[in-house]
Amino acid sequence: MSVFVDRDTKLVVQGITGRDGSFHTLQMIEYGTKVVAGVTPGKGGQSFEKVPIFNTVAKAVEETGANTSVIYVPAAFASDAIYEAVDAGCRLVVCITEGVPVNDMTTVYSYVKDKGAQLIGPNCPGLISPGQCKVGILPAQIHREGHVGVVSRSGTLTYEVVDQLTRNGLGQSTCIGIGGDPIVGTNFIDCLKAFEADPQTEAVILIGEIGGEDEEMAAEYISRHVTVPVVSFIAGRTAPPGKRMGHAGAIVSGGKGTAESKVAAFEAAGVAVAAKPSDLVPKLAERYEPARKALQAG
């Protein structure tokens, strides 16, 4: 199994001829992702590494049966690209682009929901179901197929954690970077729901950060609906209020979004919270037998 992407994912790359788009298309193809089409307006009829290019996503979907889109276009065009992918019938849209105005995302969010599609991102590294499919920009080599689901608001911090899992012999079912913006298409709860329903996923690592209340809501959800063990880490415990920490969403303001609040919510929900990234695997080992064994073996 795995969640959101797997061997049946047929991917169209929006912005395939751009600098990032072309680089990561190669990486994804190399990993085994079925990249069936690319879109760059004006370059329809050409191809990139044997992947046919179309002028519109609609045409790409029509001709290739693509069911998932990944977006590498500049920020000013990203919301339009999401609309286009959803309109063309993509069920899953992964928007890597960072710097999308949040104002654009309010209506995009409604549109995606209206049409029953799923958006991951924007400003996210994408997701990977190791051994099956990678969509986005995550470094494939640190991942290994297995049973731990990983979901995170950040990029490199997630790689750090995944790297530790893999080095300890703990593979992943799916790793999802949901993005660091205030409005993202998929939140922690969406991912937790999917992980809980996925037979492959036996434990979940959730990496949150300051800002918003997504972690608090996730904690509430976990206490009611999640049976697999969940271990978490919250970045930004020492960030001063009122200062935005890089991610557009990572800011403590109006007394909301503090790390304390998130840690407290998780602990109340029975979720172990690691004090530092390197504590995550040991914390996981306390509640997930394969992790305990792996640590002992390591």
């Binding site: 920020a75 309010t106 950040s154 490199t156 750090e160 790297d163 004090a275 530092k276």
Partner: protein, 380 residues
Amino acid sequence: MKVHEYQAKELFVARGLAVPEGEVATTPEEAEAIAKRIGGMVVVKAQVHVGGRGKAGGVKLAKDAGEAKAKAAAILGMDIKGLTVEKVLVTRAVDIESEFYLGLIMDRNTHQPMFIASAAGGVDIEEVAVTAPEKIHTLAIDARYGARSFQARKLAYELTDDPAVVKGMTKALMTLYDVFMASDATLIEINPFVKTPDGETWSVDAKLNIDDNALYRQPAISAMRDLSSEEQSEIEAREAGLSFVKLDGNVGCLVNGAGLAMATMDLVQYYGGMPANFLDIGGSSNPEKVVTAMRIILRDPKVKAILFNIFGGITRCDDVAAGLLKATEQLEVPVPIVVRLTGTNEDKAREMLVGSSLIPAVTMDEAVQKALELAQGGAQ
């Protein structure tokens, strides 16, 4: 990006929402002339991008033009939380019978703009939210339909029964929404929104923050940026495409990725140290960015050690190493640098750094602990 009170008020006026007449002055003489033009009692208000300027003495009442000149002289040049006051707004004073808070933010939970309003205006609304949450009224707007008059009116009736106040408040709320959407704001406030003893309503203060990601399509707003109201190093960082926040410690941090950068800061404190900054060099591995980042960090004399923490996913470790070597060549680096490079091409990067003065580390924990040791050593 923050917009000054007087600039936000200009946007209100352009949409037909009256504010007490006023103008900006950069000298006491200008303030005097403006006060004379307005006539009667005026308020002289420092235009700086910090909260609590009133408590800091940056807002003063003046009964006539002469007094306005004196108050302006006192406020101009004043230092408020590290920022020098360069401009004051001189505006007609209005009698206050009651004060309301009207605001609009981009709400993450509803994914929509959300009105926030309270009859407990004029004070710190965040304080009210904690001590008397029942006094805070909210209303999320479905941006597909926009804010509708009936919604503004409904919200206004939650705060007051006075039809005249409701009318003025409805207009003010609709204007907030229009300005918010048209200027790609993340926050807009009128606090206080005032009812006078005569039953008039006035937007007495205004606050407006703009989404930095949308500035490319907001030329008029971008032109309002007041560089004198910002930290020099943060301006430089922004221009170089770096995310940078100045902090108070002595360990300079240079990390790729916001989450990892926060986690690194947290780890410095976990081990008993204090970071000098938050700095995310982003996904690109452009060596120039590394040089600029180093230069910004080194400008802070408190920095006693620098900690590089790079997880090479897309960013290639060898690129970062190249930038790092270039930076140490170009800049005078008087403090030790601990480098932890892991991920894509880490072996290649490690080879490149052999023979340099850089101190290598394998894990985050090791890197942080080494940097702290060195920073404390340097502080001796």
